[in-house]
Point group: C2
Chain length 446, copies 2
């Protein structure tokens, strides 16, 4: 396990009581960073603690920080976290240690801090979360062998795993401009698809979600300067949940030979809180155990440290609710339960491979894992797997079924890391509802 | 032909004499925009005229502009043209009209302007050109059917044209962070490729260029709001030359099934001057004449205006020089001569298709055409076509040959639009030299 410090101490509690209830995603051991607005105030950085947000601008104004932590808070107190990401993880780590100390129940100045709580803390219920970063680039990988195998059966039934899968983390550049924060509705896209032998243009009929984890890049690298695998962890600022909405009918028709394009750029939803690399240290696991006969990673993608502790153990779930279910007061239905430990390639390997040609990564870039499917049926992490490539219907409470998403459907992701002896931490919510496709003047069948 | 105005008048000359020599890329009928530095001054917008740059900040300081033109010059006088692109083409058009007037030989205030020339004009030889825009996204299309056919023979010998090619402009998201301006050297990338049956990691052996034209997006659209084909021209701010450097061995191994990734993000070189949509109006041509039997564009990609004048007639050339040729004082060898009129899809169709799913385009985004190859042998616009997919050697002066690019090779693109009765305009240079791959500690064969 990576080196831990006092911020991971499971006995540490906070004077913010909601952080200690054992169910919150945001105990004092988490302290994720995000950007929020409330009332007339501008967008600014904050740290989640229980059901509150520690307002970085207010903490700075109260003069509660010094040294690296102060530099970090200044960098994170504006409308994006990019300046903090650019500084390198030393600064975010210093901020974490200071905030863990500031918020702990046994802080000797607790009384003084509690007296300032109204100034320092904003109730989450009164805040509007923003995108945590200006996302300059969004790269989507495909590193679950289970997803690759199930999804590949459609186009390559005899050989669903592409020959390069075990040698490199397969990826494509996705669209950064359409990345949106949890809660913003997603419009069903119009697009071209094949309907029988006809080529048509109209609202997507096969709209899907993909449950993924996003990695936020830290300081980045200069063009032409690769990142060795042992340096890759320094480039990982933190993690979020990511819904890579996918228009399967558009995708099937457009993607050969240059890959997915409009089937993905309709919108991408991410959770607002960035779970830092530090917070996830207790949940490190060894790299995926490759089956006998699989090749070892090439030297540039191999390090002993990455093999020993480069994986992550994060439980992930998908809940789906339809308009009818919500009207009937039914709870959302869990359709997926999976875990990041099923991924064939680790985050550090994604970073190193991405920069191996000299490509310059930049602070705020997102590298997503691709659909985090596991081996079991319940761990299928998108509808195209759950519906057996369109062949079956997924039963929902109240007698409804789904093959693909319908207007009004809401998809919510959650993530939680737990380990015996440590306090469990969560990712907050990543959810959005499907709105109807925009009308297109003159849209017709071809 | 689109509506012309006095700025296209072939009888108009400039008091900047080098603009009138008949060979310059930058006569008064062109007036492209770029960003430059000279001496200690900051990066700022300028307009090319002959062998000089009209300094927008100096023009503003001299109080020579009013109205929309002044607003436009203010937007373009900073380190990127994005603010001008965001305003909409009305402003760039106003600026063009004002500058055409300001620079014309028969301006009634010519004497006063010439007296200010040292303040207003910077010799190109003393300026360092910068990227004209902060490129938020770079989308690469593949819309030459000749390139698609020749390149497709390698992977799909019996059916080289993908079935979707004639229905939609095929594209992928490429990497924006590695777009660089003409003159910056390009490092040969390291990467994974197949060598016989072995999978290796090391310097790319099959480095190629691709001659393309880039379209700079203007104001853009909100997420979820498509752009109808008749509105697409308002979204096209201007054009540049673009070299989509391609690592063919890396590409062949990585691209199935999600498309090109590291084989393209090593670097992309663009010309520094943005040729405005206005400047190219005299060179509009009808859409590509589809062979009998090809489908008509679907309604969302069809408009009478686009069919009548949505294409462009721009002659493009590639010149190659090796270190040996330069040492011997040999002129660069022309290896390609082609024209944008060979493209199957028009720029407006690229814009409309890109936004058809609601994807939000943004000012400064680049939409590139893909390799602009034509039907003839001399119009093959990348090495993989010229060398018959690696099978033949391209002869060069002095007895050298090339299959792919070697370290020290320099590739220079040029572009020129000409039409009887109009003054010919050019694109300036898009060139770069290949530097050796960076050493990778521990890089080994797999």
């Amino acid at each position: 396990m990576p080196k831990l410090d006092e911020t991971h101490d499971p006995s540490r509690h906070s004077w913010v009581k909601s952080a200690n209830d054992g169910t919150t995603d945001f105990p004092i051991q988490n302290l994720p960073l995000g950007v929020f607005r409330n009332g007339a105030g501008g967008a600014r950085g904050g740290v989640a603690i229980g059901d509150h947000i520690l307002d970085l601008a207010a903490v700075l104004k109260a003069n509660l920080l010094t040294g690296d932590a102060k530099v970090a808070a200044e960098a994170a107190s504006g409308p994006t976290l990019n300046p903090l990401m650019a500084l390198g993880n030393r600064y975010a780590s210093a901020l974490r240690r200071e905030f863990s100390n500031l918020l702990r129940a046994d802080n000797s100045e607790r009384a003084k801090l509690e007296a300032m709580a109204d100034t320092l803390l904003v109730p989450m219920a009164k805040a509007q979360m923003q995108l945590p970063a200006a996302v300059g680039a969004f790269t989507d990988f495909m590193v679950s062998i289970y997803h690759t195998e199930r999804a590949g059966r459609a186009s390559r039934p005899d050989n669903p795993i592409p020959p390069n899968f075990k040698y490199l983390p397969i990826a494509y550049n996705s669209r950064a401009s359409s990345v949106r924060v949890s809660g913003e509705p997603v419009k069903r896209p119009n697009g071209q698809f094949k309907n029988g032998e006809a080529i048509e243009f109209g609202p997507c009929r096969w709209l899907d979600f993909e449950l993924e984890v996003g990695v936020f890049v830290g300081p980045g690298n200069a063009l032409g300067t690769p990142i060795a695998i042992d340096q890759a962890p320094d480039q990982i600022f933190g993690y979020c949940l990511l819904n890579d909405w996918s228009a399967r009918d558009i995708q099937r028709w457009e993607m050969m030979p240059l890959g997915p394009f409009l089937s993905k750029s309709l919108s991408t939803t991410i959770s607002p809180w960035v779970i830092t690399a530090d917070a996830l240290k207790p949940f490190a696991v060894p790299a995926f155990k490759r089956p006998a006969g699989d090749p070892a990673p090439l030297p540039y993608l191999y390090s002993a440290a990455d093999q020993a502790e480069g994986g992550l153990d994060i439980d992930l779930e998908v809940h789906l609710s339809t308009a009818k279910m919500r009207a009937a007061g039914a709870a959302p239905a869990r359709v997926t339960a999976t875990n990041t430990k099923h991924l064939y390639w680790n985050p550090a390997q994604l970073v190193t491979h991405h920069a191996s040609n000299g490509c310059n990564l930049q602070p705020g870039d997102i590298l997503a894992t691709g659909t985090v499917s596991g081996p079991t049926d319940e761990s299928r992490a998108c509808l195209i797997e759950l519906n057996d490539r369109g062949a079956t219907k997924i039963p929902l409470p109240g007698g409804e079924t789904r093959t693909f998403l319908e207007d009004g459907d809401e998809v919510a992701f959650s993530g939680r890391a737990a380990r015996d002896g440590y306090v469990s931490i969560g990712f907050g919510e990543c959810s959005a509802r499907i709105d109807p496709a925009p009308a297109w003047p003159g849209a017709q069948k071809g």
